[in-house]
Amino acid sequence: MSILEVSNLKKIYTTRFGANQVQALSNISFSVEEGEYVAIMGESGSGKTTLLNILAALDQPTDGEVILNGKKLQSVREKEIAAFRRKHLGFVFQDFNLLDNFNLRDNIYLPLVLSDTKHAEMEARLEPLAKKLGISQLLDKFPYEVSGGQKQRVAVARALITRPELILADEPTGALDSKATDSLLNLFGQINQEGQTILMVTHSTKAASHAGRVLFIKDGEVFHQLYRGNMTNEQLYARIADTLTVLQAGGEQHE
C-alpha cells in the first residue's frame, strides 16, 4: 500500500506584481510505499526544496495533489495543519534546528508537548528511543555542548518520537563530517529496517546510496529513478554516480 502519493505536482512562483513567473516544479508524480526508503537527488535549483516544502505542507502547490496515507494534504484546514504535520510527519534538517534554550531531552519532547501528551507517556517513549540512538547519556546536555553528529541523532529522535508515518529528511548529512555521516546513514538504514518509511532529499551520492530507491529530479520533473534490487551500497553508489554524470552532461547538451 502506498503511504505517499504525489501526482502531477506543479508549482509556479510569481514575483511581486506578477512581472515574472518561475516554474519550480513542472510535473512531478511518484509514490512511496509503506516501509520504503526513498532518496530524491537533484542539483541546486532543480526544485528539491520546493517539493519538500509542499510535502511538508509548508507550501501549497499550484496544481496537482499530495495524498498522505489516504488523506489529501491540500484538504487539511489551515488551523489543523500544524497538528497534522506533528502527527503524521517527522522532520530532520540539515542544520539540525535544535533550540538552544532547551536541553536535548526537552528538544525531543517538544512535538509531544505541543500535542498535549502526558509526561509519563513521553518518558516511556523516549527511553527505548534514546537507547537505540545512543544518546541516553546526553539528554541533560544542551545543544551547544554536543557534536554535530550527536545533534543530528537528537533531531532524529525528535522526528521519531511522534511515531510519524513518514520521515522527511532534508540534506541530513549536509553539515556532518564523514564519520558522523556514516553513522547517521547506518542509523537511517536501521530504522528503515524496523519499518519506518523515509523520504530523504540529498545532494550526496553516498547518502543516496543507502536508500532503497533513488529519484532524480531535473528542471522540475522526475528525470529518472533507480531501484536497489540486489545491489550492495557500493554498487548502488556507482550506478548513482553514472546517472548523475549522464544527468549533468545531458543538461549541458540541451543548452
Binding site: 516544502n53 509548508l58 507550501d59 488551523k79 495543519i81 500544524a82 497538528a83 504535520r85 506533528r86 522532520f91 534538517f93 534546528n97 535544535l98 533550540l99 538552544d100 534554550n101 532547551f102 526537552d106 519532547y109 517538544l110 512535538p111 508537548v113 505541543l114 498535549d116 509526561h119 513521553m122 544542551f142 551547544y144 525528535r158
Partner: protein, 672 residues
Amino acid sequence: MNKLYGRLARTNLKNNKPLYIPYILAGVMTVALFYLMVFLNNNPGLDQMRGSYYIETIMGMGVYIIAFFSLIFLFYTNSFIIKRRKREIGVYNILGMEKRHIAKVLFIETVYVAVLAIAGGLLVGIGSSKLILMILYRLLDVEGNVVFVVTKAGITYAVPYFCILYLLTFCYNLLQIRLSNPIALLHGSNVGEKEPKTKIVMTVLGLICIGYAYYISFTTENPLKVLSLFLVAVILVIVGTYFLFTAGSIALLKLLRRDKHFYYNKKHFSAVSGLLYRMKQNAAGLASICVLATMVLVMVSVTVSLYAGVDDELQTRYPQDLCIYLNYDTPGMSKDSIAQEIRQEVEKQGRTITKSSIYEKVTAFTTDDGTAFSAVTQKEYNGSQTVLYLVTREDLLQMDDSLQAEAVQPVKPGSVRIYGGPTAYKADTISLWGNAFSVESSEVYQNDDDLHKTSMLKGCYYVMFDSEETIKSVYGACGEGPIDVEGVIGFDYDGSKEEKIACYQAVDSLLDRIRASFGEEHRIDLYAESRAWNETEVYALYGGLFFLGAFLGIMFLIVTVMIIFYKQISEGYEDKERYVIMEKVGMSSEEVKASITSQIRIVFFLPLIVAAIHELAAFPIIRRLLAMLNLTNVRLYAICMVVTFLLFSAIYYIVFRMTSQAYYRIIDGRAR
C-alpha cells in the same frame, strides 16, 4: 575618499533608522532637560526672588542627577545598537575595510548623532525655556515678567559635557570592534548564552535585603533615624531588586521547570525555557526598569503631594498670620503688656484683627512607664519619648479656638484632665516628676501641629491643671533642663499678602525696640513669625521640589521607555530564529503568537508589579518623612500615589503596546 566615509556613515544611519531615531530623540530630550536645569539654576529673574536659594540648590542637584543618568543611559542604548550592528561591521571587515577605516566611519556616525542630539536638544531647551519658567513662576506663586533669555552657562556646560559623552560611546564601540575578529563580528548579534546557574546565596541575600528594607519602612518611627534609614532602605531595595531579578528569577524558573506537569505543558513549555535562557542578560534590564519605575512613582507622588498640600503645610507650620514667641528668662517681661504693644502696632498698620490668642505653653520631653513621667535630659524628637504640655484651662482654650468652652470642664486642685493622643491616657493617676495627681478625665485630642509631632513621638498629651501656680510648682521641682516655658501671642488679621508682610515688618522692628529697652545684659528671646512672609519661601521650596520631581520623572520615564524599546527589538531578532524552528517542528502560527504574548507579558508586567509593591511598602516611612515636612494629610499622599501609579501604568502600557508591535513585526518578517 573622505567623502566616501561620510556617505557611508549617512547610509548606515539611514539603514539603521529604527535603531537610531529613538537614540537621537532620547539624546535630544536629555540635552534639553540638562539645558533647562542649568537655565533654572542660573536664571537672573529667579535670583531676585526670596527663597531662590532653595530653587538654586534643588536645580543644581538636578543638574548632577541628570548628568549622571544621561551617562548611564547613553551608554546603555549605545551598547544595544552596537551589538545589533556587529554583523554589518563584520561584513565591512570581510569586504576589505581595515579596522581604522571602520573606526573612521563610526566616528563620523557618532559626530552626526552627537550634532543632531546636542543641537536639537539645545533648540528644544531654549525654545521651551520661557514656557518652563512661566510654569515655574506659576507654581511658586510669583508675579513676574518672564523675559526670554538664553543662558550661556547652559550651552557652555551642555556642549562639552555631551560631546565627551558621545566621544566615550565612540571609544566603547571602538573597543568592541578592536577586541573581535571578523568571524566573531559576523556572529556577534546571536551568540548563544549558556544556561545560567542557580545562585541560592544571591537569591536569599536579595530576599533579606528587600525584607529588611520593608522592615525599616514599617517600623522606623524615630524621626532622626527616618531620614538616614530611608536612604539605607532605598539602597537595600535597589540591591535586593537586582539580586532578586538576576538570581531569584532564575531560581524560580528552575523550580517551575522541575515541576514536570507544569513545565511539559504547551502553555508554559517555551515561555519558561525562553525566559530562563535569556534571564541572564535580561534580568539586569528588568531590574533597572523596576528600580526606575519605583523611583518615578515615589518621587513624583511625594513631590506632587507636597506641592498639593502646601497650604496645609503652611497652616501647620504657621498656625496664625503672626505669631510672637517669648521665653520667660527675663524679669519684668510680661506677655500681656507685650501683646498690648503689638496689638496697637498692628492696628496702626491699618489691619483689622480677626482673631487673637495668648497663652503659655510649658513643654516637657519625658519618658514614662505608663503612669510615671520623668524628664529626659535631651530635647529631641524620639519614638520613645512623650511630649507633655502643662496648661491651664484658659491656655488650652486660647490655643485651640475650635474647642468649645463647655467641652473643657474646669479641674479641681490636685487633679488633672488629660487631652492627647494618639490614644487616650489610660490610668487613673499620673505622676509628674514625683508629683502625683488624680486623673479626672482623659480624651483623645489632636490638633494639626500635634499630628505632625506624634508622627515622630510616642505620644503628645495636654495635661490641664487648675492654676498657673500648680504648673509652676510641678516644673519647678524638675529644675533646669528639658522644659520649655514659652509665651505665645497670635494674631490673625485681614489684608493682602503685601499688607500682611508690611505689618509683620513693622512688628518685627517693634520687637527690636522692645529687646533694646531691656538692655544689653539680658538675653531676650523674643521673635515673630509671619505666615505671609514665609509663604514665598515655602512655595519656593516645595514648588522647586515639585518641579525637580516632574523633571526627573520625565527623565526616568524616557530612560525606562528606551530600555524597554531596545530590549524588545533586540529580543525580537533573537527570538525570530527560535520561532522559525518551532514552526518547522510543528507549532502553528497561533501557538507561536500565544507563546510570544505570554512571554512578553511576564517580562513587561513583572517590573511594574514589583515597583508597585515597593511603593506600597515604602508608604509608612514616606508618610513619616512627609510629616517631618509638615505634610500630615495622609489621604492626600495616598491619592497622589494612586493617581501617579495609574498614570505611569497607562504610559507604560502604551509603550508596551507600541514596542510589542515592533516585536511582532520582526518575528512576522521571518522566512519560511
